[in-house]
Amino acid sequence: MPHDANSQTSARAQPHGGGQPSVAVLVSMGRHPLTERARRADQDARAVEMALSLGDVQPRLLHAGHFDQDSEAALRGYLGMGFDALELIEQEPGADVIAALCDRLRDAAPQLVLTGARAETDEGSGLLPYLLAEALGWPIVASLASIERIEQGEATLLQALPRGQRRRLRVRLPAVFTVDGSAPAPRQSAFGPARRGVVERIACTSLQDAAFAEWRIQPARKRPKRLKIVKAASARDRFKAAAAKAEGGGGQVLADVTPEQGAEAIFKLLQEEGVLR
């Protein structure tokens, strides 16, 4: 039983500040892939879990979006992980929330902004953290596996790479970090704190996303997976093939090329691979 939704209560009682970094977690509304019921988004919940794992800090939850029955159910899912309150920047449906989030984060000035890599609803392009980091002028690190320590305005991180590899990074704060499926699973959301938690609504003008309004949204299709043909005689070979790094045999490193040359090279590769015909 490693998790406990309310283990933060003691931390919350202490006045924060001092040497502790302030952490904001951006959370969004999730949807269950089978039933489309509103729920906390898995990656965002992992981001919250990571924030809670930092120990004595008091993370703040931040959501920008439209407030209705569905999104309330989803947001209460995060509150159920042991929070008293969540800040909601109210936006109209279909608004571009980046400016609003950016303003709010500038005001609150957290040291760390944690969020899932990609939303489960609406655009879900995964671009938001990048645009936000750009607008704030902060560095961004994707795919965090854990935050090892935070000292003197610098965070030591483990970043998840494919096939279970990890890379240790040191990043100056403030920074934006995104979390995906390689981060630890979120703790259970408990009914009591979810029901008691307060959604603090902050009114904010919303900016309509003109491009998004024109889009048609349909369920995503499963992307085709490249077949890896393994010719192995024994179980040992098969295991080795499964665990092996991708062979970088035919690749080439392009450095100091013009954007056109780069695009050309990518275009050629896509044609070779049969992605573009």
Binding site: M1, D4, A5, N6, H32, T35, R187, Q188, F191
Partner: protein
Amino acid sequence: MLDILLPILIFAALALAAIGALRRVRLWRQGRSSPVSIAKGLAAMPRRYLVDLHHVVARDKYISNTHVATAGGFVAAAVLMILVHGLGLGSLQGLGGVLGWLLLAASACMFVGSLFVAKRRRNPPPRLSKGPWMRLPKSLMAFSLGVFVITLASVGIVPADLGSWIVALVLAGVVTWGLAEMVFGMTWGGPMKHAFAGALHLAFHRRPERFSTKEGGSGRSTGLKALDLDDDRAPLGVGAPRDFTWNQLLGFDACVQCGRCEAACPAFAAGQPLNPKKLIQDMVVGMVGGSDAHYAGSPYPGKPIGEHGGDPHGPIVARPFANGGTALVDADTLWSCTTCRACVEECPMMIEHVDAIVDMRRFLTLEHGNTPNKGGDVLDNLIATDNPGGFDPGSRLNWAADQNLPLMADRQEAEVLLWLGDGAFDMRNQRTLRALVKVLRAAEVDFAVLGNEERDSGDVARRLGDEATFQRLARRNITTLSRYRFTHIVTCDPHSFHVLKNEYGALGGHYSVFHHSTYIAELFDSGRLNLKAWKGDSVTYHDPCYLGRYNGEYEAPRRVLQALGIEVKEMARSGYRSRCCGGGGGAPITDIPGKRRIPDMRMDDVRETGAELVAVGCPQCTAMLEGVVNASAEVRDIAELVAEGLNEESAQDRASRRTQQSEEALVS
């Protein structure tokens, strides 16, 4: 000298007992309020004691006879003693003389009883607590013997001055000891506490319906009590001892530490860290405040005594991360329980262990968000997909693609609504469902299913403490059911059966629900099933907890087996003493490790009978018992056995008759 000393002693003991009683009542009243009728309860108490309690005690003839002699003798002796020695009505003149003789008889009777108590305590079975309980027979003897001897003087058999003051002093000492244990100890927490608390517990029991009445009440009350989720200040379950209702606290105090619950508990036998007797004693420790160091019975397997303690306002379960300390009990103790009710069934004091355990689980799940192992995932699945496995709710009827099952949505009404349960997603249970459908069709039952409209009944969510999810599922199911007309619900899942029958009522759903074994038995009795004789191996039958102890259905499955011509080789633990398969209460989900697995022990019970097949009536039991490696017996559901035993010819005859009829109808 004694006739001065005795009244003083008696009234001092009574006064101290009264003070103790007030203190004890104060302890109980720390709990929350509970709607019981004080007057009605007190009026019903003698019957509850003499009929219901004795019904349970009498399962152990030795102790029931002993108890009648000792307790009956004591009550009579105590009353007479107050009259004779306290108020001095025992003098030889007039009616008083009779009182003295009666007192002699009562104390003699009590003395004989205490000899048997002493004998039981010579070599006590491990389930009995030791400690202060070991001195109880001596105290009983001291009281009865002391009272007997001084009464000899009052009736004039021996001289009033008893020879010398030394003898008088010794006698006074013995009587004081007896009085201290029997009167004063009763309310100050000695072993005799069980008499005082027990009597009141019977009167103010939280489930008055579980007692029989003169009119022949059902005497069964097994549905869990609903939490009020609309009141957001009402506590979500029990986090501290004072969160129990006052009559639950009173109930814990009534425990006699007889250990019958311990002997029946499958989790205890499997070496999981649970002992229902210790759990109840821990609740008493929590109510009074202190540590469990004085507990003198078997511990929770693997957990030494003396490391836990608490107080009425403190937490029962320590939060992980909270300095890693312990509180009153550990979470894994609560999560070991299979909610099989074997303990409640055996408890002579009518204590409700399962209610208490689920109350505490509710707090862990709803407030701590801390359901162990796969518990959290299962609850998330139930919330998102209405089934514990997280399967697409639209695929609930995929198994029946070839069955052409009539849907309620198309039919709107049917005589029988066949409740499939979550077993519909499980390949093994699908075989049972197919068999059941075959049987219903053979008997030409007019039935329909809800299909994809059905949701999990909420059983697992509720036993895992997630009352919110249970109520959500239940309310939605009730809404769905309210759209259709049907006479009965039939299901092959005793858990759904119990929840639909006994737990939906509090939320507004009242149905006539049958377990498939009961329904099949009725079909057979009314001649709608034509069965051929069983030609297979020898068979035993495993009573599912949620059918047997929860709903009192022990007969119908056996009747069905008998109808098949099967002679059941009963296991030593069968009927109301059936041992759980280990599958209830979410136990396979929380999966608390022990020394053995509960289903393995059950399969050993099966092996002892020599049966080659064990008939079951529950998808959980099927799954648990089939999961046993090297099992000596095959596991088959009753529905499967009946489907196999159907006289196919007759079914064919009937089918051809039907086609004939319809052809005739077409012709005409």
